[in-house]
């Protein structure tokens, strides 16, 4: 097996045993990027020189037996929504095409402290708005499993890069499913941690109350490793949770005997794609074989797309409409050329700089927050959000983990849904409610559809129960192996 195809936990051992060097490993991923990324387009920026220099430094330090971080020498790709000091951070947008971040995101600083090697920044739907990675100013990313299909979104670049072995690890961000759905479509593992478990400082905001950084990797153990490196309280993020981080690897392989896995009937409606439904039911059955107990639960609000999708989009777009006001051409980023007064400068800058989907969401969000509509839309959405959270709380009184599909279908074709935003939004029916409730969720590849494309299973846990969630995911992964 080529170096770039291995997992982080295998490679960490091999690096420690001096079987391979960080330089060889980084070179292998760079070679792979050279070979395939022209087609897949998973990356927006690649820092080959910086990565190799960093790899040499790690190798030198290892040679001197200096202490090294837990991810020493492991290549990682970052969704281009995370600020890396001195590097370009575009958010997949023309408006930030040449923006150089003046600081490191906390998660990036944590990766540096862990001695991981940042190899590049990955493609994404502009400002993380999308479910297909087609809304990027830098062109769409293709699904490595089938180049006619989308990789999912918005962290499509990160998921595709891991799936195509262009990197060992990646970080994505998940606002309504943006880590889990592309992980599902590309056949890799993707975790959205509890809201507040990973600092958002330096994550360019789409929807502040929903955004969360999450690991994308080839297997569950790698996800645990990467979560370990980035989780924790950050005084610079007021919404981050000040609770000690447990050891996610300690009990990972302890099995799931006695754990209760809940299935909500609402997640299996009549019209659901048969393959997807069968895969989820089969996954539940195999977990039962492995010692879990299956229970039926009800999610009368959280299980209904008509509540969740509306609520999710009202809140996300409302917050986004304010979060994106700062891209006005004044301080940084794209500014319209010409002899313009202030109003014209704003209008032209934003008209030129933002893509269609971003404009749509800013306008809808602005509308939802407007005087006279606020109560009917934004405030109402917050009320439904509380009901959704309560729904999950109640469900978790009778089970440890909830199991559902990640997405209603396998990866769709490029262009298939771009003309129908509403259809596109339905990609989030299993994932958006999870962000609204702030609970952790993981997407684990489980089966393949008749089209040969992966079908992912989503597992959910109560807030801060990532260790239990990972244990269940690990068990599920074993049943598919």
């Amino acid at each position: 097996m080529a170096l770039n195809e291995a997992t982080a936990h295998e490679l960490i051992t091999r690096l420690q045993q001096r079987e391979v060097t960080a330089r060889e490993l980084v070179q292998a991923t760079l070679d792979r990027i050279d070979a395939v990324d022209g087609q897949i387009n998973a990356f927006i920026s690649i820092d080959a020189e910086g990565a190799l220099t960093h790899a040499d430094e790690i190798d030198r330090r290892r040679a001197k037996n200096e202490p090294l971080g837990p991810l020493a020498g492991i290549p990682i790709a970052l969704k281009d929504v995370l600020c890396v000091r001195g590097g370009r951070t575009t958010c997949g947008s023309k408006i930030l095409e040449h923006y150089i971040a003046p600081y490191d995101a906390t998660a990036v600083a944590q990766l540096r402290a862990a001695d991981a090697i940042i190899i590049g920044k990955t493609n994404m739907d502009e400002f993380a708005m999308g479910s297909s990675c087609e809304n990027s100013y830098f062109g769409p990313t293709l699904n490595p499993r089938d180049p006619e299909r989308v990789p999912g979104g918005s962290s499509g670049g990160s998921a595709a890069a891991v799936a195509a072995d262009e990197t060992i690890l990646a970080l994505g961000t998940d606002t309504g499913g943006s880590v889990r759905q592309p992980a599902g479509y590309c056949g890799v593992v993707g975790l959205k941690p509890t809201y507040g478990r990973v600092s958002r400082y330096g994550l360019v905001a789409y929807a502040s109350s929903l955004d969360q950084i999450g690991p994308i990797s080839k297997d569950v153990e790698d996800t645990a490793l990467l979560l370990q490196a980035i989780a924790g309280h950050d005084p610079r993020d007021s919404t981050s949770i000040d609770v000690p981080v447990p050891d996610y690897l300690a009990g990972l392989k302890d099995g799931i005997k006695g754990l209760k896995v809940g299935l909500a009937q609402e997640h299996f409606p009549a019209g659901l794609d048969a393959e997807v439904a069968t895969a989820a039911q089969s996954a539940a059955a195999t977990l039962a074989d492995a010692g879990a107990e299956l229970v039926d639960v009800q999610l009368p609000v959280a299980g209904h797309p008509e509540y969740c999708i509306g609520t999710y989009y009202l809140i996300a777009m409302g917050e986004a409409s304010a979060n994106l006001t700062r891209y006005d051409g004044v301080k940084y980023g794209h500014r319209a050329e010409g002899d313009l007064n202030l109003q014209e400068m704003y209008l032209r800058t934003r008209s030129e700089g933002f893509g269609e989907e971003v404009k749509r969401r800013i306008m809808l969000g602005t509308y939802a927050l407007s005087a006279g509509y606020y109560d009917a839309y934004y405030r109402k959405a917050q009320q439904v959000r509380t009901l959704i959270r309560q729904d999950f709380e109640k469900a978790f009184t009778t089970c440890d983990i909830l199991l559902s599909p990640v997405a209603p279908t396998t990866a769709f074709r490029l262009g298939e849904q771009t003309d129908d935003p509403l259809q596109m939004y339905l990609n989030d029916i299993y994932t958006a409610s999870v962000n609204l409730a702030g609970i952790p969720g993981i997407s684990v590849p489980y089966a393949n559809g008749a089209d040969g494309l992966p079908i992912g299973i989503q597992l959910l846990a109560p807030p801060l129960e990532e260790a239990k969630l990972l244990r269940m995911a690990y068990a599920l992964e074993r049943t598919t192996a």
Binding site: C83, T89, Y99, A205, A207, P235, D237, S238, A322, T366
Partner: protein, 476 residues
């Protein structure tokens, strides 16, 4: 027809915290090189997040308590959305539905005596940057962006420019006493807007209000209100209607000018700031802040009247500045000090010097102890008033001990009868006409002879004794 003026005020006060409202940058921005107190947070770099300045919360709660407000235990910050280059994020983090402090009052002095002005709310927000227009370009300094800003909003119970002036003065006193703000309007640390309307006297309905912005000095507040009231009366008397507009005060021309019509009022699309958690203030914390409030101007005034028996005019002057009041008190409490003469000296000589030389009392070289010692020397007859002024001048300029200055300058009052008898005799001899006048009953001329004796003794003679001796020698 006679009209009644109805005014509500909004005062913005910059808090004197070490750091800004949501980041660690220094909050100081006055005469600081442009864009040197900035960071990713206060310049709204993508991905940067706010963290609440606890001290700003505390200073606002202190102000609220000092203004007799209820302090809300559950606080929510909100985004106020609007687009302007001095506002880096495109929204101002402020408080909307749930302000920190509500329902208080301030007592002011009106024509009819003491009067309470209702304080509807005191809330916390962040300041904007500063724009500078140079020819065809505009420059922005973000040093001020994110500086904690407290907004104090009254009800519509202010009835005149004088009341507005006094209200503003009371607010400034309070924030200065609390150490919450410098309150310096000329430095922009306190900024003011007034909502002004008029109505026929006796009417309960409010007239159309006009918002006047840009009131950057106490003078501007008084003049702008007076001007605007006059303007509105004229509009009505000419058969017109006052329109609801926002006006700016043009200090130079002394007029209000329309800035924008309120008919196209902006929709700020307030919503709870998702980057901040709600702030829950413990009752114990609120109580502690209340307990630790320093003595406030009104309480100090009452106490000064009771303990020191001072008149209202002196009290008003003394308590204006807490440091001056403390100086007075330190002196007045010295054993043997006479509070009234201390007050006279502080409000007289010391104030004249502070104002003339633009120095703070904290920097004065005359200590309260030295002042008391000086007054004791006068009282005991060791020096006269003339000499006292001379000693004071020396103390003010160089400091030191009054007794030592009297000694080295030879200012000790001459109260020795035989020595003075000689001087008086000499003066009478030199001024026979004056002596005659006095003998004829023109006692005013005694003053003239006294002056001559003072001259003779280089100002050191005990004036009372001199007067007695003149009368005695002339047998009147």
């Amino acid at each position: 027809m006679r009209y009644e003026t109805v005014i509500g005020m909004e005062v913005h006060v910059e808090l004197q915290t070490a750091s800004k409202m949501f980041c660690g940058c220094a909050a100081d921005h006055f005469q600081v090189e442009a864009n040197t107190h900035i960071c990713p947070v206060c310049t709204a770099q993508p991905g940067a997040l706010p963290v609440i300045n606890g001290r700003a919360m505390e200073l606002t709660a202190m102000t609220g308590l000092a203004l007799h407000c209820q302090i809300r235990p559950h606080n929510v910050f909100a985004r106020k959305n609007y687009l302007y280059p001095d506002l880096p994020k495109g929204y101002q983090v402020s408080q909307y539905e749930l302000p920190l402090c509500e329902d208080g009052w301030v007592e002011i002095t009106s024509e009819d005596g003491p009067k309470k002005i209702g304080v509807e709310r005191v809330h916390l927000e962040e300041d904007t940057g500063k724009l500078q227009h140079t020819g065809r370009a505009s420059l922005i300094d973000y040093n001020r962006a994110g500086v904690p800003l407290m907004e104090i909003v009254t009800d519509a119970s202010i009835r005149s420019a004088d009341e507005a002036f006094d209200y503003l003065n009371k607010i400034r006193q309070v924030v200065r006493y609390l150490g919450a703000s410098s309150g310096d309007m000329e430095k922009g640390a306190m900024r003011c807007e007034a909502n002004i309307s008029i109505r026929p006297e006796g009417s309960d309905e409010f007239g159309t209000k006009v918002e006047v912005k840009n009131l950057n000095s106490f003078r501007a507040v008084r003049n702008a209100i007076a001007y605007e009231v006059e303007r509105q009366q004229q509009v009505i008397e000419e058969g017109g209607q006052v329109r609801q507009v926002t006006m700016g005060w043009d200090e130079q021309m002394g007029v209000t000018r329309e800035q924008r019509s309120k008919e196209t009022s902006e929709d700020y699309r307030y919503f709870p700031e998702p980057d901040l958690l709600d702030v829950h203030l413990e009752v114990e914390w609120i109580n502690r802040v209340g307990r630790e409030l320093p003595e406030l101007p009104a309480d100090k005034a009452a106490r000064f009247s009771e303990i020191y028996g001072l008149n209202q005019k002196d009290i008003a002057v003394l308590i204006e500045d807490a440091a001056v009041a403390a100086y007075f008190e330190e002196a007045a409490q010295h054993s043997g000090a006479d509070p009234k003469s201390v007050a006279n000296w502080v409000t007289g000589e010391i104030f004249r010097r502070l104002n003339d030389e633009d120095v703070l009392i904290a920097d004065a070289k005359v200590s309260p102890a030295a002042l008391v010692e000086l007054l004791a020397l006068v009282k005991d007859g060791a020096i006269n008033q003339n000499a006292a002024r001379e000693v004071f001048t020396e103390l003010w300029e160089k400091g030191g001990s009054p007794a030592a200055i009297v000694e080295t300058k030879g200012l000790k009052q001459i109260s020795d009868t035989s020595e003075l008898d000689e001087a008086v005799a000499k003066v009478i001899e030199a001024n026979p006409d004056a002596a005659e006048k006095i003998k004829d009953g023109n006692l005013k001329t005694v003053q003239f002879l006294m002056g001559q004796v003072m001259k003779e003794t280089r100002g050191k003679a005990n004036p009372q004794l001199v007067q007695e001796l003149i009368k005695k020698q002339l047998r009147v």
